[in-house]
């Protein structure tokens, strides 16, 4: 695969809830191995873009294509198994389960053994369970969470919960990660660590990342490209240094100078 | 993961062993306890009963139990049987078949009763009968009407007459005495007694030239029966056969009259309760039902039963009280004449009971251990049950 191949394309998306237009003619592409950030004030429709991509909402008009495949009318799990996984703005971990279990559930589609094998706990079953557990531990290791593997997810500190969500998304084996405000609630130091991690993950797993974030330092620091949404419309897109100076963007964030 | 399995295995094994162990030990302990009890209690004869004291059919079980208690008290006042006092141990079954099975097992294996009375309902009697049979303890069902109950084995007896007898009673009466040909049936789908009566009524009635114009069903506990009654009204029957319990009958009659159905209704011994008239009021006037006995018969035994029951419990006895009363008489008679208190001996004594006079008739058991006795047809007149005729088997 060569650099620059389109992995995800949004084709003139329009979405309305009742009378409220949330997205209007959103049209952009993401190339393989890019880190793209989507920014914009609250209510700009960023999370809606995620929800459409993952099949939670169906757009009123337009379509989303992933590696050339239409995503319309596919359910969330199918889309995940195609290679898109996400994190949630309001952390949705499996709270009562252990950290390791959280990750192992995400590697769901990598298992091959059948129910009978699991009941008899055959060699194949044991080998596979071991292999998957090791793989999950490895990813946890990258995020510095391996010592927490047996703890209940709800007992992790907030920042680590956010990280665990990313681990979980990675464990699905996704080619494209959608991260919804990964740095929310983190302090400066943690955010800094997260930036390194995201870049490291991108390198190591060769994934493409689309993220929503309010922390400008993070966005400017790691994004190859930035897309700015405002009232459901793309008002600007381009390299970080370009966005920083865009008049419309500044207006959208600071309000029109009177 | 492996470790958990081992831990689980160990705890499961320990748990099973522990609980089984606990039970066997407990069992030894209770057995000891019961033998300890048995010595001073040799002057008592323990008779078990399984009757519903709670649950949806509690009212029937209580009636039977009240009557049995009454007979036993009286017998004990007269010195019991050969100087031994009778003691009734009633275990409640919450009106459930599975609880009845537990209760009778407990009576037989823990309490060591010599015989079991009950249940008022066929379904619960059927659940109990195999246990009585396999333990060789005679069981006398007070109210079961399903023929299958006594077919379970030769230790199973009953006091009530069976559906194939009672169903045709009213059929005969309608055809021969009232000379009516077009009848509607309105039965309780949830109730085995009602379904049984309806079935045998229908078979007999159609075989003898009658016509069933419509068959409708309700379920016990419903409050509104007008839909079915309106459907019945449209078929213009000359009589409506309504086998069921008085708990619903009163309401049904009321609603039938509200809809302008003027023909007579009729049913079986489930109608026998003063509550029927209380709930149904004038709507029940002119209706007929088959029963074991007539409460205002001149028979002094019936008079005494009704008077005593009223004095003790403050209400007129219903059919199940009468059956409970007779069941108690039967069991006393059998124990008195039995060679010993062993199950087979009491069974043999029960088998040969002949012409025992009870309030529900003169009782002799046939080869199926069902009583041979006649039924009466009663008519509700001025809020009272008036005797109309007797129909013999």
């Amino acid at each position: 695969m060569t650099e620059g191949k389109k992995i995800l394309s949004f084709d003139h998306l329009t979405m309305a809830f009742g009378g409220l237009k949330v997205l209007t003619d959103v049209h952009f592409d993401i190339e393989e191995h890019e880190i793209v950030s989507m920014i914009g004030p609250n209510g700009a429709g960023k999370t809606t873009v995620f929800n459409i991509t993952t099949g939670i909402y169906q757009p009123n008009r337009g379509s989303v294509r992933f590696c050339g495949n239409e995503l319309k009318n596919r359910s969330t799990y199918e889309i995940t198994n195609m290679g898109i996984s996400r994190t949630f703005q309001n952390i949705r971990l499996f709270k009562d389960l252990s950290v390791l279990h959280n990750v192992m559930i995400a590697s769901h589609q990598h298992y091959r053994y059948n129910p009978l094998q699991s009941l008899l706990q055959t060699k194949a079953y044991r080998a596979e369970e071991k292999q998957q557990a090791e793989r999950c531990m490895e990813i946890l290791g990258i995020f510095g969470l391996s010592h927490r593997a047996q703890e209940q997810a709800k007992h992790l500190p907030y920042g680590e919960q956010r990280k665990l969500e990313i681990v979980r998304a990675l464990a699905t084996g996704a080619k494209l990660l959608l991260l919804d405000e990964p740095a929310a609630g983190m302090n400066e130091q943690e955010t800094h660590g997260l930036m390194d991690l995201i870049q490291k993950v991108q390198q190591q797993f060769q994934v493409t990342i689309l993220l929503i974030e309010h922390d400008m330092k993070l966005v400017m620091g790691i994004s190859h490209r930035i897309i700015v949404l405002h009232h459901g419309e793309i008002i600007a897109q381009g390299k970080p240094e370009h966005i920083r100076q865009d008049k419309k963007v500044i207006e959208a964030y600071l309000g029109k100078p009177s | 993961m492996k470790k958990t399995s081992i831990k689980m295995s160990i705890s499961t094994a320990l748990f099973v062993l522990f609980s089984l162990n606990a039970c066997t030990k407990k069992n030894d302990a209770t057995q000891q306890a019961s033998t300890d009890n048995a010595k001073p209690a040799a002057s008592e004869i323990l008779i078990g009963s399984v009757l519903s004291i709670t649950g949806p059919e509690a009212t029937f079980g209580i009636s039977s139990k009240n009557a049995i208690d009454m007979v036993f008290e009286k017998q004990n006042a007269l010195g019991g049987i050969d100087g031994k006092k009778l003691k009734l141990i009633n275990l409640d079954n919450q009106s459930k078949p599975e609880e009845s099975a537990i209760a009778i097992t407990k009576l037989i294996s823990q309490e060591k009763v010599v015989a079991v009375l009950g249940e008022v309902a066929s379904s619960r009697s059927i659940a109990m009968a195999p246990i009585a049979q396999s333990n060789q303890i005679p069981m006398l069902s007070t109210g079961a009407t399903n023929p299958k109950v006594t077919q379970i084995g030769d230790f199973i007896f009953r006091t009530s007459f069976i559906d194939p007898f009672q169903g045709p009673v009213l059929s005969k009466f309608i055809l021969e005495n009232l000379k009516l040909k077009k009848v509607a049936i309105f039965k309780d789908i949830k109730n085995d007694y009602s379904m049984g009566l309806a079935q045998f009524f229908k078979e007999h009635f159609e075989k003898n030239g009658g016509q069933i114009v419509t068959e409708q069903s309700y379920s016990a506990g419903d409050i509104d029966f007008k839909a079915q009654l309106t459907a019945i009204r449209s078929k213009k029957p000359e009589f409506v056969y309504l086998p069921g319990y008085y708990t619903d009958i009163g309401l049904i009659l009321r609603q039938a009259r509200e809809l302008g159905i003027k023909v007579a209704f009729g049913g079986g011994d489930g109608w026998d309760s003063p509550k029927l008239f209380e709930i149904g009021g004038n709507a029940s006037e002119g209706c007929y039902f088959s029963n074991h006995y007539s409460a205002d018969a001149q028979d002094p035994m019936v008079q005494e039963f009704v008077k005593d029951y009223q004095a003790k419990y403050g209400s007129v006895p219903d059919a199940l009280a009468a059956l409970g009363y007779d069941s108690a008489l039967i069991i006393i008679q059998a124990i008195r004449s039995a060679k010993s208190l062993s199950g087979p001996d009491i069974r043999d004594a029960l088998k040969v009971i002949k012409d025992l006079k009870g309030v529900t008739g003169t009782i002799t058991f046939n080869e199926n251990r069902d009583p041979i006795k006649s039924a009466v047809v009663l008519k509700i007149e001025n809020g009272k049950q008036a005797y109309v005729t007797t129909i013999n088997p």
Partner: protein, 305 residues
Amino acid sequence: MIALAAATIATYLLTPYISSFYLQMLTLAGINVVLANGLNLISGITGQLSLGHAGFMAIGAYASAYFSLQYSDPNYFLLSLLLGGLFAGAFGLLLGLPTLRLKGDYLAIVTLGFSEMIRVLFLNMGSLGGARGLPQIPHHTNLTWVVFAAAATLFFIHRWMNSYFGRAFLAIREDEMAAQSCGVNTTKYKVMSFSLGAFFAGVAGALFAHQLTYISPSIFTFTKSFEILTMVVLGGLGSLSGATFSAILLTFLPEVLRPLQQITHIDLRMIIYSLLLIILMLTRPTGIMGKREIWELIPWPKRKA
């Protein structure tokens, strides 16, 4: 596996030493263990509230009883049990497919309605006895069978929980949306959980039918479903050992309270039972065990790595 065999053999050996009353109580307790764990799979582990377990039990009981009435040979008993389970499982599938997109309370109501409909259906089936029920079912169930079934159920569920299917069930309970995002086909696994739970209920129903030797629609009312649910909740939703423990406890409780009835001459048993239920929910809403297992509470000696 070893525990399974050991428990069965131990029971078989001990059976002659137990009085018939305790034998019966233990048998019922064992049946309840199967029922409670089957429901635990649906409600505790997969998080789908079901109030219709008695309906599945009824299907299993009727299917196997009907079979045993045709082929009463005790050698066919295992087949009869499996048949009961499979029938119930099939109905679980049938009910699960259209209804599982409903959530929470709505699902609870639909399952409740479903089991009531099953009951009305049996009431109307004359060939199965209607309201008069099916009597004279061969008495094949004994404690050994029941312990075997209970142990097999526990074994099955425990192993299942250590597989990716089992973890998918847990994921659905914890957060359905997140489970989907992890690639779990939630509908498929919910239906699977429903059918499996129904299967166990069917087996339990079959055991029950061959224990009581009589079944009628009035046995399988929603009160029965509530009883089973109570066992699961009391034990702690999602806890295998909790459900097992409380199934046994609640089977014996009414009998333990029986002397009280003898003393007071009024029946306080069910009042105490319901009061206990309320008080337990108020003081320990997660049930006796919570989501934990009994072996997690025992201080095992730590092995050195």
